[in-house]
C-alpha cells in the first residue's frame, strides 16, 4: 500500500508567543517548531499499516526551509521518502490554497491512502484533510483513531462526541484525518536517524505546482483574546498561595 502522510510544522506547544509588528502573525524568530501532534499520530498509523501490509510511506509538508526538520524527523521514524513543498507565503494562502498545493503534489503519486492530522495546533482549522479528499476525488472520514485493511478497502474507528465511537467502511483510495491518541507514538532510533540521511526528499516549489493561490478567506489580523472573567490570582510562595487558596475555597466560594 502506498501511503502519503501530510505533516505540518507548528510552533512548540509551550512556546511563548508574541504578535509581530504588523499584527498578522507571531514573531517566528522567538519560537521553536515541532511536528503537529495529530500528524505524529497519522504518521504512526501509516508506519504500522506498512509494517502489517507492506508498501511505502511518503511524508509531504508545505512550508518554508525549516519545515525540512519535520520531514527528516518522519524519515528517522521510518517513512521512506519525503516531499517538501517550499513555500514562504503560506500565511497568505487559505486552507483551500494550501490543500491545492498538497493535492497537486500528491496526485502524480497515485497513492492508495492519504492521511492527514485532524487539526493543526497553530491555525486549528481542522479541515485541510477533508478539503484534500474533495480535491483528489477520494472518499474520506475524519476523527479516525484506528485503521484496519479489509478485502474491500478500509474499516476505520471514528470518534464521536462524549465518549461514543463508530466504525465506517470505505473503499480505497481514501483520505483519513487522524485524531490524536489512537496509537502509542514511537521515537526515532539512532539507526533511524542515520538512515534518514540517505533517504530522498524531493523539493517542489509552490510556483511549479501551479496551484491557485488567490484566497477566499483572509486573516486580517491577530490579537490577544479579550479577558472574560477576572481570575483572582493568589500571590506569594507556593505555601502562601496554597494557604490562601484553601481559605478562599472554604470561606469565599464555600465549596470545601
Amino acid at each position: 500500500m502506498k501511503i502519503i502522510v501530510a505533516i505540518k510544522q507548528v510552533p512548540e506547544r509551550d512556546a511563548q508567543v508574541r504578535i509581530d509588528p504588523v499584527g498578522k502573525w507571531i514573531e517566528e524568530l522567538d519560537v521553536q517548531f515541532a511536528l503537529n501532534e495529530s500528524d505524529a499520530y497519522a504518521l504512526e498509523e501509516a508506519l504500522q499499516l506498512k509494517e502489517k501490509h507492506g508498501g511505502e510511506v511518503i511524508v509531504i509538508s508545505a512550508g518554508p526551509e525549516r519545515a525540512g526538520q519535520v520531514i527528516r524527523e518522519a524519515l528517522a521514524k521510518g517513512a521512506d521518502r519525503g516531499i517538501h513543498i517550499e513555500a514562504d507565503d503560506l500565511g497568505s494562502r487559505d486552507a483551500l490554497g494550501v490543500a491545492r498545493l498538497l493535492a497537486a503534489a500528491i496526485q502524480p503519486e497515485n497513492p492508495d491512502l492519504v492521511l492527514a492530522g485532524l487539526q493543526s495546533e497553530d491555525l486549528g482549522l481542522g479541515q485541510t484533510g477533508v478539503i484534500l479528499a474533495e480535491l483528489l476525488g477520494f472518499p474520506h472520514s475524519s476523527l479516525i483513531l484506528h485503521v484496519d485493511v479489509t478485502a474491500k478497502g478500509l474499516k476505520v474507528k471514528r470518534e464521536l462526541e462524549e465518549g461514543w465511537f463508530q466504525s465506517i467502511e470505505l473503499p480505497l483510495p481514501a483520505v483519513l484525518a487522524i485524531q490524536s491518541g489512537g496509537n502509542k507514538l514511537r521515537y526515532a532510533t539512532l539507526m533511524g536517524i542515520k538512515r534518514a540521511k540517505t533517504k530522498e526528499v524531493r523539493r517542489a516549489s509552490a510556483g511549479e505546482l501551479g496551484a491557485d493561490a488567490s484566497p477566499v478567506v483572509i486573516l486580517e489580523g491577530i490579537s490577544l483574546p479579550q479577558k472574560q472573567r477576572s481570575t483572582q490570582i493568589l500571590p506569594g510562595s507556593p505555601k502562601e498561595a496554597s494557604a490562601a487558596l484553601v481559605e478562599k475555597l472554604r470561606f469565599e466560594a464555600r465549596v470545601l
Binding site: L96, G124, H140, G163, G181, T231, A243, L245
Partner: protein, 323 residues
C-alpha cells in the same frame, strides 16, 4: 445571493444546544447585515425538528429530506446541501461546529471553491469573524473575500441560544436528487467506548490533571491532593491518550461533561475542547506556570507557578485545614 441560512443538526428529532446557538449566531449576523435568516434541517425524518424551528422568529424553515439521509454520511449530506445551496443561493451558511460538521462541510465548501471559517467565537462589523489560534492563546479576525457562499461554523457556547424570539416560520421541503451509488462510505451504528465505572458527572469535587504533569510517574502528586480533598481524579485528553489514566476519566468534548462544586485544574492549558466539559463547574481553580494560559479565562482562582512546588504545598494546606 442573499440571506443567512442556518443548518442545524438533529438526532431522532432532538436539536442539541449548539444547534440553537448556531441559530442565534445566524440571527445575530442577519440583524447586523439586514437580511432574512432561515434554517434547514437534513435527514430522512425531519418533521419534528422542523416544527421546533418553525416556532422561532425565522423567515423560513426547510426540510432537506431523503431516505438516503437517514444516517449521516459526508457524501450524502454534502450532495444534498450542495443542491439546496445552489438553488437557494444564501450569502452566508452557518453551522454548529460539531464533529459531523467538521467531517463534511470542508468538502461542501470546496465544491463551491470556498472554505469553511471554522469554530467562530464572535462576529463583528464587516462582517469579520473571530476564531481562536494557537489553542486559544491568540485570536484571529477573518474576512470572506470569495464570490460564493460564505460558510461559517460556530463554537459551542459562543452565542446565547436562550434569547431566541418566538415566531411562526413557513416550513417547506426540498428533496435532493441522490443515488445510493454516490455514497461511498458505510457507517455502522455508534457504540460506547470503555466501561463506565466512575461517575465523574455527579462528583462534587474534582482534581483534574493535564500535560503539565510531564510523566505518568508524577501522577501520585495529584492523586495525593485528590485524596486529601476527597475528590475524584480526572484528566485532559493527552493524559488518557498516553494511557496514564483510563479514558473514562477524560473531561471534555470527546469525554465526560462534569459540573462539580469545585474543579481544580492542574497543568491544564484550557483548550476549548477541554473547557466545554467543565465550564459548568460552580467554582474553578487552576494551577499553571503560564500566566497567559487560557484556563485563567474561566478560572475563579489561580495560582501561577510550578505545579511540582504548588501541588505538594496545597496538599499540606488542605490537610492542615481539615485538621
Amino acid at each position: 445571493m442573499s440571506g443567512v441560512l442556518v443548518v442545524i443538526e438533529q438526532r431522532d428529532g432532538a436539536i442539541g444546544r449548539i444547534s440553537w446557538e448556531a441559530v442565534a449566531a445566524g440571527k445575530f449576523l442577519g440583524t447586523k447585515i439586514g437580511v432574512d435568516v432561515g434554517a434547514a434541517v437534513i435527514g430522512a425524518a425531519t418533521e419534528s425538528a422542523a416544527a421546533q424551528l418553525s416556532a422561532k422568529a425565522l423567515a423560513k424553515v426547510v426540510r432537506i429530506e431523503h431516505a438516503l439521509l437517514a444516517q449521516y454520511t459526508s457524501d450524502g449530506y454534502s450532495l444534498a446541501l450542495e443542491q439546496f445551496i445552489a438553488q437557494d443561493k444564501p450569502e452566508y451558511v452557518i453551522f454548529p461546529h460539531t464533529y459531523q460538521v467538521r467531517d463534511f462541510v470542508p468538502a461542501l465548501a470546496t465544491r463551491f471553491g470556498e472554505m469553511l471559517i471554522s469554530d467562530v467565537i464572535a462576529i463583528a462589523d464587516g462582517p469579520v469573524f473571530a476564531r481562536q489560534l494557537l489553542q486559544g492563546r491568540l485570536q484571529g479576525s477573518y474576512r470572506h473575500t470569495g464570490t460564493g457562499p460564505c460558510l461559517v461554523s460556530v463554537q459551542a457556547g459562543a452565542f446565547r441560544a436562550d434569547a431566541l424570539e418566538a415566531g411562526s416560520a413557513q416550513v417547506s421541503r426540498f428533496t435532493p436528487a441522490l443515488d445510493a451509488a454516490q455514497i461511498r462510505t458505510r457507517p455502522e451504528p455508534p457504540f460506547r467506548g470503555s466501561e463506565q465505572t466512575i461517575d465523574l458527572g455527579s462528583a462534587q469535587l474534582i482534581v483534574s490533571v493535564g500535560r503539565g504533569i510531564k510523566d505518568a510517574e508524577n501522577l501520585p502528586l495529584v492523586q495525593e491532593l485528590a485524596k486529601a480533598l476527597g475528590a475524584e481524579l480526572a484528566a485532559s485528553r493527552p493524559i488518557c491518550d498516553n494511557g496514564w489514566l483510563p479514558m473514562e476519566r477524560q473531561v471534555g468534548s470527546s469525554g465526560q461533561t462534569v459540573s462539580p462544586r469545585l474543579y481544580l485544574a492542574v497543568g491544564i492549558s484550557g483548550a476549548i475542547q477541554h473547557l466545554v466539559g467543565m465550564k459548568g463547574a460552580q467554582c474553578i481553580a487552576a494551577i499553571n506556570k503560564d500566566p497567559d494560559a487560557p484556563i485563567f479565562e474561566v478560572a475563579d482562582y489561580g495560582i501561577v507557578g510550578d505545579l511540582f512546588e504548588v501541588v505538594p504545598a496545597l496538599t499540606e494546606a488542605v490537610k492542615a485545614a481539615k485538621g
